[in-house]
């Protein structure tokens, strides 16, 4: 039974690591705190994704993209998050375009170097969980 719950939830170690990013180095987080945050985060992701999926279903589309997530956040009342995610999505797409351009310019053996320059996916998760500070997004 616990295994099923763990399979459906996010990895608790990653949740703890993300929680530590906002805390001072000397702070500690209890296991109970991590577990509760794990449940809250999982529920929030299901909540937002359900709203986005509902919109895609109405428009007869099968793929939920970043714009749908931004729309879902704004439609659910999380306007601050929607603005921050919108700015991040813009920067992310610029990075993707630059990556494509660099791939065209250079030769094939250097593709690995270009792939390493791509923004890491967990950063998107940290943006969703943390409150939207202007300094980071600016």
């Amino acid at each position: 039974m616990d295994q099923d719950v763990q399979d459906r939830a996010l990895p608790i170690a990653n949740v703890g690591r993300i929680m530590k990013q906002i805390l001072p180095p000397s702070a500690k987080i209890s296991k109970e705190g991590k577990q509760l945050m794990q449940e809250c985060v999982t529920e929030f992701i299901s909540f937002v994704t359900g709203e986005a999926s509902d919109k895609c279903h109405k428009e007869n589309r099968k793929t939920v993209n970043g714009d749908d997530i931004c729309w879902a956040l704004s439609s659910l009342g999380f306007d601050n998050y929607a603005e921050a995610i919108g700015r991040y999505l813009h920067i992310y797409r610029q990075g993707e375009r630059e990556k494509i351009n660099h791939t065209k310019k250079y030769e094939n053996p250097q593709n690995q170097t270009q792939i390493n320059r791509a923004p890491p996916p967990p950063l998107l998760l940290s943006r969703v969980e943390n409150p939207p500070p202007t300094n980071q997004s600016g």
Binding site: Q3, S46, G50
Partner: protein, 346 residues
């Protein structure tokens, strides 16, 4: 049971207490009266005194007892409890006055009498419309609390910061009668999440089975590995210390399995006999082993039988084990063990 009921009533009083201070005093008085009622019902001389005075007081005390013993799960029982408690207040007030005149020496009695007098004064100060408003207001709060199960408790706590936030919208569900307010934008999302969560709970109950392993690929790899007599893996270092550690691990595993599944204990005991027989045959083939080593091998065989049987409990894994054994070069001992396993299966 009484303590649980008292805590429950105090919790039910907390919600109205947060609204207004006047009701705070009122409910404190009610709580004290209820405590006094229970204490009077529990003690023999109080009971006999009430019984001797009048039949009406006896009936009221008798009515209080089943409510005190039972844990109220329905709204009607709560309403009946409140009504009976208020009825008992007047009776207790009169009774305590009489008792105070009879027993002037008791300190506790004097304290209870003072509390009751304070409550009576509060009741006289409050008017009837106030009491009716209190009744009408407190019931919806109690109704709002009951329909929620443990899985919705998170949502209930999540509502609190939103009530003071954006646009408010009351829920109009048939199952929920309480005035719970949520953000208007999130109403449909919350309803959708409740339905999907309920569906997930049902699916989980229908397909409820515990996995003996964490990873499918690792499980398949373990099933493909060759095993020696007693079901132990072959290509590992077989030093004495290593065997000791493995024995401890097997012992822990056996303990966990016995605790987890009681229905399979009979199967374990039955199959243990076959394993001991196979170990006897193995020992017979080599007469150099001494008595102490034979005893230790018996104990090891007994421990290994549990882990082997746990893997063999599933038909698929058992069939996979036989197929894997056939596909590789099998020593004569393993062939004998395989034969014994086949006999056990029948």
């Amino acid at each position: 049971m009484l303590l649980l009921l008292l805590q429950f009533l105090q919790l039910s009083f907390i919600l109205p207490m947060a609204m207004q201070t006047v009701y705070l005093k009122k409910h404190e008085g009610n709580a004290h009266n209820f405590v006094g009622t229970l204490s009077s019902a529990a003690s023999a001389p109080w009971w006999s005194a009430f019984g001797s005075q009048s039949v009406h007081q006896g009936e009221s005390c008798g009515q209080m007892k089943p409510f005190a013993l039972e844990l109220p799960n329905c709204i009607d029982q709560l309403a009946a409890t409140k009504l009976s408690a208020r009825g008992a207040e007047q009776v207790l007030g009169e009774g305590h006055t009489t008792q105070f005149t009879i027993f002037p020496d008791g300190c506790k009695m004097s304290d209870d009498a003072q509390k009751l007098q304070t409550t009576i004064s509060l009741q006289s100060s409050l008017t009837d419309p106030h009491s009716r408003f209190e009744i009408g207001f407190s019931q919806p709060m109690l109704c709002a609390k009951y329909p929620y199960t443990d899985q919705f408790y998170g949502l209930f706590s999540a509502y609190a910061p939103q009530i003071s936030g954006r646009i408010m919208l009351p829920l109009n569900m048939s199952s929920d009668d309480g005035p719970i307010y949520v953000n208007a934008k999130q109403y449909h999302g919350i309803i959708r999440r409740r339905q999907s969560r309920a569906k997930a709970v049902l699916d989980h109950k229908l397909t409820k089975r515990c996995k003996p392993y964490m990873h499918e690929s690792r499980h398949l790899h373990a099933m493909r590995r060759p095993r020696g007599s007693g079901g132990r893996f072959l290509n590992t270092r077989s030093s004495i210390n290593g065997n000791g550690k493995l024995g401890n691990e097997v012992h822990k595993t056996v303990g966990e399995q016995l605790q987890s599944s009681d229905s399979q204990s009979s199967e374990f005991l039955q199959s243990e006999v076959g394993t001991l027989n196979s170990s006897k045959e193995t020992n017979g083939s080599s007469p150099n082993i001494s008595g102490s080593e034979v005893t230790s091998m018996y104990s090891r065989g007994g421990l290994d039988s549990f882990s082997l049987n746990h893997l063999g409990s599933a038909v698929h894994s058992f069939a996979n084990m036989i197929d894997g054994g056939r596909g590789m070069i099998i020593p004569p001992k393993w062939v004998a063990a395989a034969g014994n396993c086949y006999n056990l299966k029948v």
